[in-house]
């Protein structure tokens, strides 16, 4: 009889690429850093670490403002800094209000540019998961309403969600994908109001919800 050997299942990968953001970072640096952290975190959940092992520098520029950042990929560490100095290996020009959608063909190392854009343009999490995380992050902001009421219009009609408990509520409605973008930080709340998101609450609540949106989008 053949002797059997028990092989332990591999433990989930807890290590992931470290994303470093410079001190006193500008919004674009914070946005890229936060997005790459979300991308790297996919690996923790068993997905591919899209930035692991990449080497080189990529310039990321806004298509309509002077905002620019340099992403330095060094294997298991990625650094994001403000501005573009020197000659990067690749350059991408993106719409920062369209989830890093490229507006021009990348220049330089096409493979590196494509790899970074894949990480920056991860598919949205389901709106309900994103909303739960959003409300968790927003809880600590002074003056935030107690309850978030969501009406998400998806392929199967309107889905509803309620997050938090308490007396004060804030309502937000719109296309499911757009709401997922707002809740995940991929989209800016104020910008999304012109793109189909609707809100119900006071002006004061919109103000503090803006702070919440910036918290998840820029980590400020």
């Amino acid at each position: 009889m053949t002797e059997s050997t028990t092989i332990e299942a591999p433990s989930p990968r807890l290590e992931m690429t470290r994303i470093l953001v410079e001190d006193d970072a500008t919004p674009v640096v914070r946005l890229i850093g936060r997005t790459l952290r979300d991308a790297a975190a996919v690996a923790r959940d068993g997905g591919d670490d899209l930035v692991a092992g990449l080497l080189g520098t990529v310039a990321v520029r806004s298509h309509d403002t002077p905002q620019a950042a340099t992403v330095t990929l060094a294997g298991d560490v990625v650094e994001v800094t403000s501005g573009v100095f020197g000659e990067p290996a690749a350059s991408v020009v993106v719409d920062l209000n369209a989830r890093f959608g490229p507006t021009e063909e990348p220049t330089g190392d096409a493979g590196l540019a494509a790899a970074l854009l894949r990480a920056l343009r991860l598919p949205m999490a389901p709106w309900r998961d994103a909303a739960a995380r959003f409300w968790e992050v927003a809880r600590g902001i002074p003056g935030i309403p107690d309850v978030l009421v969501v009406e998400a219009l998806g392929a199967n009609g309107v889905e509803r969600g309620r997050f938090g408990e308490g007396a004060t509520t804030y309502g937000i409605a719109g296309p499911a994908d757009l709401l997922a973008g707002v809740f995940s930080g991929a989209d800016d709340l104020l910008t999304s109001l012109g793109a189909g998101v609707q809100v119900q609450g006071t002006l004061a609540q919109l103000s503090v919800m803006t702070a919440a949106s910036w918290k998840v989008r820029f980590d400020v």
Partner: protein
């Protein structure tokens, strides 16, 4: 203040918003008479819009701010003057319906701190040096050029104290001080300043609330005279890429008519404590003294503004210069604010620092007797926060300024500066430009 003399058709109600712009509206004489005791309704949005008329969002409004509620502007009738024939002008404060002051009203902040000083037995004469840059072009021409590539009035060479300025520059300043005399604003001196087109105008010492009034009105006078003469003037911290401009505040403390900053052998203990408070609050106060993105572009060693949290006796390279040795002139010169500061908030910040220092007996750090610019890190003298975000974080974390200015003001101000920072970075400002077009567009005419 001067008496009103001519038949009055209207009264201009005035008060600054948080940015330091003089806001208001004209009311008929009858309307003014009907409301001068009870006040006039203003939408609270005046504390909620930025210099581009966008509603500032990003914080939890206090209870009194809701869906654009009204607040009451109650005129301070001691400020009533004849501004020009047929038009009077009066400055007021903002109050809530329950009779309490709007906690973020700049003038009321100063009033509250002056009252606290009085409770401690002191009054605080203050004076200010106002710097501004004049350009030949009319404001319409300046606008059409995006406020760029303008011609300095009086010639394009930089000079300090030169009397050779051309007549157009002199005519402008003479018209300004003539107008100041007419509306009862005491001034002491004016001179050519360091940069092409730049002037410095010194207002006489008076109590802090009145100085805030005089400062705000002087900027209005300087604008109106510029417009009348077909020129333009800017109080931007850096109206051109090359030169910056500040607003030094001189303060002393007296009781029973005696200057308590004076001591025979140098700074009095009270002056030392005041210095201690001013330095302890300086990093947080930077957010107030440097309100706009461009404010921080002045922070260049060796160019005039202080760059370190420092003080010294008669040391103009330090942030606080102690002038000592004379029973009348002993005072502190707080050299931090830029020309773009809100006058009342600048004064409130200084008074908060002085109050903190004398009430809590704060000992100052070692005096800097060397040049305070370019100091090695090993000297342990902190640098002044050099970005809006760093300064905002310093204010947010400053327990002294929270105590003396109030949590509601600090939270509001920090949030409004975060909005400004976000607008600059995401709406077209360029942090790597020497002076971006976005800044010229936003700050040249206001505050």
């Amino acid at each position: 203040m001067s008496d009103t003399t001519t038949a009055r058709r209207a009264v201009r109600l005035e008060a600054t918003n948080h940015e330091g712009s003089l806001l208001g509206k004209n009311v008929s004489s009858a309307k003014f008479e009907a409301g001068k005791e009870t006040g006039f309704a203003f939408a609270d949005i005046l504390f909620a819009i930025d210099l581009n008329n966008e509603i500032v969002l990003g914080d939890a409004f206090p209870d009194w701010r809701g869906n654009l509620y009204d607040i009451q502007m109650i005129p301070d009738l001691t400020t009533l003057v004849e501004w020009k024939p047929g038009l009077d002008s009066v400055i007021g404060d903002y109050w809530l319906k329950d009779g309490t002051p709007v906690p973020i009203c700049p003038r009321n902040l100063v009033r509250r701190l002056v009252a606290r000083l009085a409770d401690d037995g002191y009054d605080a004469p203050v004076a200010v040096e106002i710097e501004a840059t004049l350009f030949e072009e009319s404001v319409q021409e300046a606008r059409s050029r995006g406020y760029r590539d303008l011609t300095p009035l009086g010639g394009s060479t930089g000079a300090t104290y030169h009397l050779a300025r051309s007549g157009d520059w002199i005519a402008y300043m003479e018209a300004v001080v003539e107008r100041l005399d007419r509306v009862g604003i005491a001034w002491e001196a004016w001179t050519d300043e360091a940069a092409p087109g730049q002037t410095e105008l010194n207002l006489a010492p008076t109590d802090p609330v009145r100085l805030g009034d005089n400062w705000a009105r002087t900027r209005q006078v300087m604008r109106e005279v510029a417009h009348e003469l077909g020129h333009t003037v800017s109080f931007m911290a850096k109206p051109t890429a090359g030169f910056g401009q500040g607003a030094h505040i001189n303060v002393s403390l007296q009781s029973d008519g005696v200057n308590r900053f004076f001591a025979e052998d140098g700074p009095s203990d009270l002056m030392r404590n005041a210095v201690g408070g001013l330095l302890a609050t300086m990093e947080g106060n930077t957010s107030i003294a440097f309100p706009q993105i461009t404010s921080y572009r002045r922070l260049v060693d060796l160019t005039g503004p202080p760059t370190t949290v420092s003080w010294g006796v008669n040391n103009k390279t330090a942030a606080v210069r102690a002038i000592t040795g004379h029973p009348k002139y002993s005072r502190l010169e707080y050299r931090l604010p830029g020309a773009d500061v809100n006058p009342y908030l600048a004064l409130a910040g200084v008074l908060a620092g002085v109050l903190a220092g004398i009430e809590q007996r704060i000992e100052p750090p070692a005096e800097v007797t060397d040049m305070a610019w370019c100091l090695p890190d090993s000297r342990g003298v902190p640098r002044i926060p050099d970005t809006m975000s760093k300064a905002g974080a310093a204010l947010d974390a400053d327990p002294l300024l929270r105590e003396y200015l109030g949590d509601e003001f600090v939270d509001f101000w920090v949030a409004s500066r975060r909005w400004e920072w976000m607008e600059f970075h995401t709406k077209g400002g360029d942090p790597f430009a020497e002076l971006s077009a976005w800044e010229s567009q936003r700050y040249f005419e206001f505050p």
